[in-house]
Amino acid sequence: MTATAERQMELTLPMVPDIEIAAARAAGNMARELGLSTELVDEMTSAIIEACINACEHSRSADNRIYVRCVGVSSDGNPRIDIWISDHGRGFDLTEVRARRQQFGALHKRGRGLQIIEAHMDEVEINSTPDGTTIHMVKYGKKS
């Protein structure tokens, strides 16, 4: 028999300084409830922080909102957290951003956030159009 726990959360956040911390803390609490280890929670929250910063810094969205959705499932002590971070901004060219981040140096700032997201999450899917951007991230974990 499989024991399954599920949590869901949706947040609409204003684009104000340090709002990324609110999103990260809320998702982190949910992940801990589902049994994600501290190190994996820290990796996940680091990725959430970068996704929110990306929205605040680069989306130029008219509504100045970040939309966060988290769905967490734990089946027999094996948690999986899905997170979607969305904005209604103008989008960006993912290929261009990935090309820029290859170089070390202060002049090459853009792209580091996405690099952090991709390094810390198990799955990442980015959908960016002139109507907005959604970053869908997945983190798997073992029970702590």
Binding site: P17, I19, I21, E39, D42, S46, G105, I116, A119
Partner: protein, 119 residues
């Protein structure tokens, strides 16, 4: 909402210093570190150790500022090192390439010994 960055400076010898950070290294916190680091470099410091034991989050903007500090230190024949990183910050620094330009130590004691930061 967040714990604002606090900094403590510890001078070591004629040309060394340790910067102890506490709190979130974002754009604001990063600029505070940069201001202090540049003051120290202008004052003759050539070995700068950043002790991050009380910092749990560094974002990508903060990392960009830390890279600027590393570059400015290198321009002046100085060096920057880090110690006491959380596992996620340690991993992030490696991903971002900081570890190629700045030494990373597990403890302040080992950093002091290897960098020759005499009291």
């Amino acid at each position: 909402m967040t714990d604002e960055l606090r900094l403590a400076v510890e001078r070591r010898g004629n040309d060394g210093a340790i910067l102890h950070t506490k709190g979130y290294i974002n754009n604001v916190g990063g600029e505070e570190i940069a201001t202090r680091a540049y003051e120290l470099l202008d004052g003759g410091v050539r070995t700068l150790l950043l002790d991050l034991r009380e910092t749990k989050i560094v974002n990508s903007i903060g990392i960009s500022i830390l890279i600027e500090i590393i570059e400015k230190a290198m321009e002046r024949n100085g060096r920057v090192a880090f110690c006491c990183l959380t596992p996620v910050i340690h991993k992030t620094f490696h991903i971002m390439g900081l570890a190629n330009y700045a030494k990373i130590f597990d403890s302040e004691e080992s950093a002091i010994a290897e960098l020759g930061l005499a009291a």
